[in-house]
Amino acid sequence: MTTPLALRSDAEALAAPLPPLLAEAEHLATTVLLGDHGRRRAGTGDTFWQYRPAQPHDEARSIDWRRSARSDANFVQDKEWQIAQSIILWVDQAASMSFGSDDNLPTKAARARTLGLACAILLIRGGERVGLTGLRLPPRRGEAQLMQMAQLLSQEDTTDYGAPEAQGMLPHSRAFFISDFLGDIKPIEEALMRAADRGVGGALLQVLDPQEEAFPFDGRTIFESMSGAIQHETLKAGDLKTRYLDRLAERKDRLQHLARITGWQFQTHHTGQSATNALLWLYGALEHQR
């Protein structure tokens, strides 16, 4: 039963992480200069591009009288062509992402959300439309969209491993997925294939904890997934290290391969590294494709 009071407290608890998340994402975004984002040719847009002599097909109201008054010919003010791009993103919110090996390191989820939202902020500032996959939040512009996105990103999933949703992708738009990609690879494969079918390009960012790369364990150990649903017991964890690392490398290879055949880009990021690097790569990867 939902009483107004409980609703209120739930909402506050939900909203609580938002400002810091936003602030952190904005903080990260400010570190990236937007650079040349215009189309570098005349078209519909808001900013001035050039003056050109008026052609007969130009309407009289489009003539820039101030410029024309300085010469005999009439001039028309061209605006720079600006086109809004739709970008959708998926940030894994499954339980596996909430792993952080050290108190000093952020959890993978925190890093993934920050990166996703920061990228969204940058894109919205660049005039693009940004949304989330799966019809939860269609691409739109503006600060309000960011607030909504932050709210949605703050939710957590209880399943062990997340799978991207390929729904809601506009044709020839762009997308990026942030996850640890440790779960079943089938859904990821499917999603990427569907995206490729629709001509959607983008980037895959794998966020891993340093411990997941190093596997510094030894002795008798029971490994559990974050929800505890999956368990694996070993008597000598140290012996598993090489085989685990082999499998991890295999998984990265697979993702790289997938990315290549679908025209996406793939990168691994560790929570121990600087977030800015990952953001720059992500932003560059999206920019690159245009």
Binding site: Y161, Q211, D218, R220, F223, S225, K236, L248
Partner: protein, 917 residues
Amino acid sequence: MWSLGPIGFAAPWLLLGLIALPILWILLRAVPPAPIRRRFPGVALLLGLTDDENQTDRTPWWLLLLRILAVAAAIIGFAGPVLNPQNAREGTGDLVILLDGSWAGAPAWQARIDRVDTLLSEAALAQRRAAVVNLNDLPVGTLPFAAPTDWQNRMPSIQPRPWQPANIVDWFAQTDSDFETYWISDGLDWDGRTDLLALLESRGNVTVFQTPRQNIGLRPARFEDGEVIVSATRSPIGNPLETAVTAIGLDPAGVERQLASVPLSFAPGEPVAETEIILPPELRNRITRFEITGTRSAGAVSLTDDALKRREVALIAGRDDREGLELLSPLFYLREALEPTADIIDGTLDDILLANPDVIILADVANLAGSEAESVLEWVENGGMLLRFAGPRLAASDQGRNAVDPLLPVRLRSGGRSVGGAMSWGEPKTLAPFADDSPFFGLAIPDDVSVTSQVMAQPDPTLADRVIAQLTDGTPLVTRSITGEGQIVLVHVTANAEWSSLPLSGLFVQMLERLAVSTRPASPDATELAGTTWLPNKVLDAYGRLEDGTALPGVAGEMLAEGTPSPTLLPGLYAGGDRQLAINVIGEETVLNVAAWPARIAIEGMDVVRETALKGWLLTATVMLLLIDVIASLAIGGRLKGPRADVAAALALALLWAPDVQAQTTEDFALRATSEVVLAHVLTGDTEIDDIAAAGLQGLSQTLFRRTSIEPAAPIGVNIESDELAFFPFLYWPVTADQPLPSREAYGKLNRYLRSGGMIMFDTRDADTARFGSGSPEGQRLQAIARSLDIPGIERIPPDHVLTRTFYLLQDFPGRYASRDVWVEAAPIDAQTVEGMPFRNLNDGVTPVIIGGNDWARAWAVDGNGRRMFPVGRGMSGERQREIALRFGVNVIMHVLTGNYKSDQVHVPDLLDRLGQ
């Protein structure tokens, strides 16, 4: 209490728990280490991986052993093990504790007192009356029974005495009640011991406490063939033993020093060891006593008296042109008479005077060259003895004829006389009995001594006083005059047998002895001592310490003749007339016998074996083993890696942490000490005192750094046993009452340090409660420490000492206390005030010691933040006192580093100016 060897158990039944250990082994073996549960998202990648081998299913054996040991230690620990369990002595009725209390017990007196204390405590528990009796110091009345606790309070007054008990059975026989006896024996036999034992056994049970300790007695040194022979006897006789004998005497400045030290080794099975000391006569004559190094007992000290002294006698004859006529040589009889007991010097007068002999004998020398006569006279006035013999030359010369010759006691008539010869009338003259006031009084005159020729003295008002021996007709034979501190004696006959038969007789030798030309070869016998009274000069206590005996009553010569120390005849040095006689605890023939006890007497060791409860140690071991087990288990379970590794590492570190290792190598130490000026303090072993000394020197270093061009590095604590001292210009030595005495090597190092210009500042830190030289514990310790140090004569800092003006002008030397008792090396006696100068022209060099009790370190001390650590005085005056203390410190260091630079008179005008004079 059930005991197993030296270990007893308070709760032995608990040991049955050890039976359970094998069961525990099996149980523990079956249980593998618990797995760790880890959250790990990468588990999806692990699925399907299997372990290569099945291991760690069971606990490894060494871990099992560790745990079993831990449990075993816990079980044994709780069973209450006690090392050396003491079963309380049982007994009822009165208890008498006897202490031999002779010098032999002195070295380990404290152990005896501790033993008695323990026995008294047990007696107190058993509610018995007790009496403690020192057999050497019997109390008045009968056995003084009292409560044991009373006796415990009185124990400090029971001290050993430097003699052996004798004839005390009667005293014990006064008491006819029954009592039990504990007899603390010194291990030496003495007269009447068995009688006393028989008496005591008739009264009750007797238990003897005795340790088989090596007692060494040093016999009086004797003179043999130009060597000093020292011998020592020991008991019990057994293994080879190495020890050393030290000869101690005064140096020319009057300070007691070690003059020589020789090793003395007892062969196995030999009761006596002997060694010779070869010393130049100058040193040998200064020896006042011999000591066995490192033994504090009266038996290990042997005082020397005149018997060891050999006077230096210079012989000069006027006539040495008759080569080959040995028996006619004027010196032949003198040489024969003196050689056994004196050192004879030959040579020219100038050379001889340089050697400063005790006696110069001029045999028939008439004239001395002018300068020679003057220097001989000066030597006589400074205490020399000039003995002249007449002869043809003297008779023929004009010496002393018309005027008084300062080198002759009387004026002489020309020519002399001959009697009883072929060409003269009369019979040869014999000697008249010696007068009362003559030094020869009492010597028997042989009948056959006759005089045929002599030189005659001019009648004179003073002549009668100067005659000390005369012939039967009243003509003087020996005359003497006192000149200055010395004397001039003229024998009116020749030193050979030409003029008289005196040199042929024994009387000649005795007369020479009486004139103190030669020394008496042997100690005087009883007849000679009869009727004389001797005054104690120095007396020995049982610990072998010399004490002033001048306040004690005189002793009859008969007692001295016995030579056995007793309550009425303390061992020591006795003076009678111009002679000194030493009474030593150990005589020439003394033999030390082990006190043998009949088999029926129970003999226990002296050691008080302390009960040591081992429970704490075992439980600590349990905890340590468990800690190791924790770490080992973590290692096996893989918990030492991964996220908790840091915790485990910290734990392991805490476990393996060891007290800081003395990592500083000698080289590091040398570099640290020499790369900059470093003030150093001697480590006393008392952490608090050492810290304060370091803080004090830190404060002084800071002050020096701020105010002067001396910029010292951080002070260093110096261990005098192991560290090199030569690096430090200055050592601050806080004296604590319980400081161990430095070893022999350390003393050697310290003495080298003092001689090579180092300075040690001794601080007894007790000027608030004690005066200098008084018996505060620190003061006594300082005396003990300084006894073997090469410290010159000291005096209180005189107002013109260079320390008063090396940097600041000071007249007070306060530390935390403001006592004026601060002592430095004494100025030489010949330092003289120059007219118009405020300071004497003092000695060169730096005073090697400053001794005081003002606790300077506390006044100087600063903590890590540079704040003063201890208050000084009150208010502003206190701060002023601290400032003066710091200034004194600055002056001391300046004095150490610049020597007597400020003592130079060049600075006088400036100093006068600053003093406002």
